[in-house]
């Protein structure tokens, strides 16, 4: 097992294998998104209080979940990069950050668009909204710090430490709605009591689950594509990169 991981984690093997894996993320993503969006926006029933407006959650909730998921990826692969000094872990962390920042931004914007008609405001400084905004700033800080060094090794070290420090924000985002009074509603699906009996009707839950899987697949595809580019850039002086380029040129 360990040997297999080490073999896969070598940039050269990763470049070769990832090419075959990407379609397994990309095509299911397209299929699931089409089904999930049609189900969520057309088939799913209206909400008893919000009418049609609740449908924005089919993008908002999966995007918010991804914003936290990708941050955990950032911190974990940053930690692996620090301890075991696996090059690929640093690559994964680096290329994931802009994707995570985009999902965070999407969650914030869709939330604001929903909040205006429902709550009566675009934005409030409650614990949930504020901690999610801090997450966006963490992503931006991570990206700037990673770009502030000429040496990619130093850059990875510094930004990994930042990612691990910022990890504290993830439980704060998740529990903000239970620890404090917030304007944002509590968890409907993703809390221990709600996993068994979600506070959301099955006809609405199914498309939500489809969309959250589809967003995970999208992240997988985007991350692998970006990681392949980053690997080529970092290994540009290696012989295998020259061979790859020669082969592609044929």
């Amino acid at each position: 097992m360990w040997k297999w991981i080490q073999a896969f984690a070598s940039p050269q093997n990763f470049y070769r294998i990832s090419k075959k894996i990407i379609p397994w993320f990309l095509y299911p993503f397209i299929a699931l998104t089409l089904v999930g969006l049609y189900w969520g926006l057309v088939i799913a029933p209206i909400d008893y209080q919000q009418g049609e407006s609740y449908r924005i959650m089919f993008v908002h909730v999966p995007a918010a979940w991804m914003s936290m998921f990708i941050y955990i990826v950032l911190a974990v692969s940053g930690g692996i990069g620090l301890i075991w000094q696996i090059k690929l872990a640093n690559v994964v962390a680096k290329v994931s950050a802009p994707i995570g920042a985009s999902f965070t931004f999407l969650a914030l914007v869709t939330g604001a668009v929903w909040g205006k008609p429902m709550w009566g405001t675009w934005w409030v400084w409650d614990a949930r909204l504020t901690s999610e905004l801090i997450l966006l700033f963490l992503y931006l800080a991570y990206m700037s710090l990673g770009n502030a060094f000429d040496n990619p090794k130093t850059a990875s070290k510094a930004s990994s430490v930042l990612a691990i420090v910022g990890l504290i924000n993830i439980p704060i985002i998740h529990y903000s709605v239970t620890w404090w009074n917030t304007l944002h509603q509590g968890a409907s699906v993703s809390s221990v009591e709600k996993i068994a009996a979600p506070a959301i009707h099955p006809d609405m839950l199914m498309p939500l689950i489809l969309m959250s899987i589809s967003f995970k697949l999208l992240y997988g595809a985007l991350m692998l594509m970006r990681a392949r580019d980053e690997v080529l850039i970092r290994e540009q002086n290696m012989r295998w990169v020259k061979n790859v380029i020669m082969e592609d040129g044929k």
């Binding site: 919000q50 429902m118 009566g120 405001t121 409030v124 420090v165």
Partner: protein, 138 residues
Amino acid sequence: MKKRQSRMIFVALLVLGVGLAGYLGLKAFNENLLYFFSPTDVVEGKAPTGKSFRLGGLVGVNSVKRDGIKVNFDVTDNANTFNVEYKGILPDLFREGQGIITTGSLINGTFVATEVLAKHDENYMPPEVADALEKTKQ
């Protein structure tokens, strides 16, 4: 091997240290992170006096009186109730029995609001299901 272990300890200490700092920080600022006060909090004197604060609770059933854009209603947590006066547009989700958060200040026992926000709960269901639930309750 030695080096890797020391790096492991560094990462573990980093996680522990930040976790501890976060825990203590949140504990210290807990009060400030409350977005609103319930009517009971206000009765117990937890809300600031003499300046504006946020009052949260349910809109009292049969308490909403409209007069043009002036609205008068009760906010309750089923233990204590405050009368709220507001002039302006109410959000879509505002209705009797709904959770709301309102900003303003207490003037002679009446909460004079400058802003009313509706709070949504975590329940999502089609209208037919809501009707059926309502019927079984009665």
